[in-house]
């Protein structure tokens, strides 16, 4: 199963199941840490978020995601593999827009490496989100 970094629309439970199922292909790992990013129905100035529309600079996402993986794998010698999947296009509130799976020899390193991977994704990947409100108006959000 080839995983590209970006997929159109939400990351479905079925797709997540397939990604997790892939972990059984390895026997040199003892722990896997998974992070799921979900679209939250925030209320901003009295208006509720219905969905987020993600856009990305695709060529640069690939380069930066490759670099994140290299950084994590060199920093955590126990980390064996890293999967990153991010949505583009419209993802409704409640749906999943980010999937990160870090596999390591031991749980502690899996958890720490996963956490750092997510932090780097927030800072490094050229992805933007437009919040679409229930009245169809919209606004741009940036990471803090």
């Amino acid at each position: 199963m080839t995983i590209n970094y970006l997929i159109k629309g939400p990351i479905t439970p079925d797709f997540i199941t397939k990604l997790i199922g892939k972990t059984t292909e390895r026997t040199d790992t003892g722990g896997h840490s998974i992070f799921l990013g979900q679209v939250r129905a925030d209320e901003i100035n009295g208006k509720k978020v219905r969905a987020i529309e993600y856009s990305a600079y695709e060529a640069m996402v690939k380069l930066e995601a490759d670099a994140i993986k290299d950084t994590i794998l060199s920093e955590f010698a126990d980390a064996r593999s890293i999967d990153i999947v991010h949505s583009t296009g419209v993802v409704n509130a409640g749906e999943i827009s980010l999937f990160v799976l870090v596999s390591a020899g031991h749980r502690k390193h899996a958890i720490e490496a996963c956490s750092k991977t997510v932090e780097l994704i927030k800072v490094k990947l050229p992805i933007w989100k437009k919040e679409i409100f229930e009245d169809s108006s919209f606004g741009w959000r940036q990471n803090t």
Binding site: A56, Y57, P126, I127, W128, K129, W140
Partner: protein
């Protein structure tokens, strides 16, 4: 010579497009002035600039076929 400029995020709305070609911009600094002339509103937005997929902070000489992108603050995750 010609370079390609890509706009992302809120800058797509500010400029009304996601791509524009510029001729005769010899440096990044000169290109920035040309973009600001075309889209004066852009000065009110923060963004960084990439040249051929690499973020650059200082001025650069441009060459034919370069791809420049204007990147507002990232918001992935």
């Amino acid at each position: 010579m010609q370079v390609k400029v890509l706009f992302f995020g809120v800058l797509v709305e500010v400029t009304g497009s996601n791509i524009k070609f510029y001729s005769d911009a010899k440096t990044m600094g000169a290109l920035k002035f040309m973009i600001q002339d075309d889209f004066p509103e852009i000065v009110h937005y923060s963004y960084c600039i990439s040249l051929n997929n690499e973020i650059v902070s200082n001025d650069r000489i441009l060459k034919d076929g370069d791809e420049i992108a204007l990147l507002p603050p990232f918001a992935g995750g």
